[in-house]
């Protein structure tokens, strides 16, 4: 299935991309699976998405934890803790 991924702020700059679409197997349907695909790119991807890093995850514009199940065409966003206001 196809998953759209958005990156914001520091992550957008670190990866030098604001959005992309990745294709994952229908059986690999958790956020953590998506994160592992990205981490396998190594370098800055591995570093910034390390489990100890405090990045946040949203699915279809709501913040979630990384065991949420995905479906085709979901919008996943990865970003640092928010600093508005």
């Amino acid at each position: 299935m196809e998953i759209k991924i958005l990156f914001f702020a520091k992550l957008r700059e670190a990866f030098d991309v604001s959005q992309e679409v990745i294709v994952i197997a229908d059986t690999e349907n958790k956020i953590s699976d998506v994160l592992n695909v990205l981490r396998h790119r190594g370098d800055v991807w591995k570093r910034e998405l390390d489990e100890n890093k405090p990045f946040r995850i949203a699915v279809n514009q709501e913040m979630v934890s990384d065991d949420v199940l995905l479906k085709n065409a979901d919008e996943v966003a990865l970003f640092p803790p928010v600093t508005g206001g």
Partner: protein
């Protein structure tokens, strides 16, 4: 309920008047304005660039407003958050809450700011004399939001 994400500045008096809607049941109008400071964590700031997640921002703010409405007896709320490039002294954010009596509007206004700070997808990047940097989230903001989950707001 009204939520706006905009580049333009805002006028507090005008927004209050509009939010009150000539409703003579409104006795209390609490508000908060956040302003860009020229100093943050020891660095002098010349410009602040505000990035956000269009779509999710509005949704997140509306969820926060709905939460406030279930907790307190309030009439209306307004949240305006600016994005783009801002300078010290510029207004960044406005929250207004109207109610019959002051206690509710004060509590709801502070709650909205605390939740906005930790749940709405905005990010600040500062230009300082030693270069640019992304602003780090503050533990004090997480703690401020956490208070409301422990019954203080009831």
């Amino acid at each position: 309920m009204s939520v706006r994400v905009q580049i333009e500045d805002f006028d507090v008096s005008q927004e209050m008047l509009a939010l009150r809607k000539k409703n003579p049941k409104v006795g209390a109008v609490a508000s908060f304005v956040g302003v860009v400071r020229d100093l943050n964590d020891g660095e002098d700031v010349s410009t602040l660039e505000l990035e956000h997640y269009p779509g999710m921002t509005e949704r997140a703010l509306e969820l926060i407003v709905n939460e406030a409405k279930t907790r307190w007896d309030i009439y209306d709320t307004l949240i305006i958050h600016r994005v783009g490039a801002l300078q010290p002294l510029d207004q960044i954010v406005l929250v207004i809450v109207t109610s019959a009596h002051r206690g509710e509007s004060f509590k709801a206004c502070e709650f909205l700011m605390d939740y906005l700070k930790t749940r709405a997808p905005f990010w600040k990047k500062e230009q300082t004399s030693s270069g640019e940097r992304w602003v780090e989230a503050r533990a004090s903001d997480a703690e401020a939001a956490e208070r409301w989950t422990q019954g203080e707001g009831s």
